[in-house]
Amino acid sequence: MIETRSRKQSGGSEEVIKTVQFSVLRYDPKTLPAPRVDSFNVPVTKGLTVLDGLHYIKENLDSSLAWRYSCRMGVCGSCGMFINSYPRLACNTQVLELKTDTVHLKPLPNFDIIKDLVPDLSVLFEKHRSVRPFIVRRDVSIDELPSGEFFQSVEELERYLQFTYCIKCGLCMAACPTVATDRRYLGPQPLTQAYRYDIDSRDDGSDERKEEALGSHGAFRCHFAGACSEVCPKGVDPALGIQLSKRRAFVASLGLLPKKRLAAVAPPVTSAKRREGTPDAPERTVR
């Protein structure tokens, strides 16, 4: 019964190719004085991911094991962990791809441990929030923003589009050598998002972000070790974003940064005629 279930999770393949040992760091700051490592044998079928393996352990071997996951398909960014000393998403990593007989699992470094493989990502979210990751305008009131569209060309979109794919999984923060020692350093994820909004033609908030993003624990604590871009599971390339924001700060320091031409708000469409029978928009739920 149990076996059938685990096979189902592995994507349908029934044949157990080999048994792999999962060495999992176990730690509960509330009850354990120090972390320990537990080992579990997991039968691996073709396509079985590390996340599937953890489910197998939880269902069959040790129900007290804790980790965080949600979507199981590389979208939500919850299951980032240190897999064989490399930050990866557990759902995005097939056990056979690792080509080892032992899978070492630890929580993402540079984050506090909540329990076992669960890192405390709230620091990341706070830092992300601190760079004001949204469109800031001074000429249009914030209430008007959601109702009007902005004009933006494809070229203007492509300047920041890559950086919008971030899923806030924290892998880049775990790989970064500066985050390893500097708890106040914003880190790759928030800095990339700061740049993403800074160069958005709709945004006018660079001056509000600069104290954080270009302050003494901002972009200049990055030394292009490049690990963040290598581990990013979505190809966001945080290192590129940070270097480009340093280039922008360099040009601004020399007083050569051209004034930003802000995208205008598109006027409401008046000439188009509404088709017969089109229902009205539902009433606003938020005011």
Binding site: T181, K210, L214, S216, G218, F220, K246, S253
Partner: protein
């Protein structure tokens, strides 16, 4: 878009570029000029040191290199210190100490250069 840190970092980068040229020249004179066959002369003998010290071009390059290299090196050191999660008070103290050390060494070095030029 300008912050104190962005200005300091910009100088750090520009200083690095200046050092690349001047220190490259310095290294060439001290370590590579002997490759052309004139390796007999010792670049570190007192007479050869003073010969360079009395040339105005060397005096200017020495003082310029001293200044930019001190800035580049000490700002680099400050970068490393700032990445250790210290309190803001300690960070400020480190900045002050580094500035004082840099100024002291700049004064010593340029005083020596000017004195040797006049000798």
């Amino acid at each position: 878009m300008r912050t104190r840190e962005s200005t300091l970092w910009t100088w750090h980068l520009l200083a690095g570029a200046v050092i690349l040229v001047l220190l490259g020249l310095h290294m060439f004179i001290m370590h590579l000029s002997g490759l052309g066959g004139s390796g007999e002369e010792d670049v570190l003998s007192y007479s050869s040191v003073m010969e360079r010290s009395r040339a105005l071009a060397f005096v200017i390059v020495y003082i310029l290199l001293l200044g930019v290299a001190l800035y580049h090196g000490l700002y680099g050191f400050r970068k490393i210190v700032f990445e250790l999660t210290l309190s803001e008070g300690v960070e400020r103290a480190v900045t002050v100490l580094i500035v004082l050390l840099g100024l002291a060494l700049f004064v010593i070095g340029s005083y020596a250069t000017i004195t040797a030029y006049a000798m």
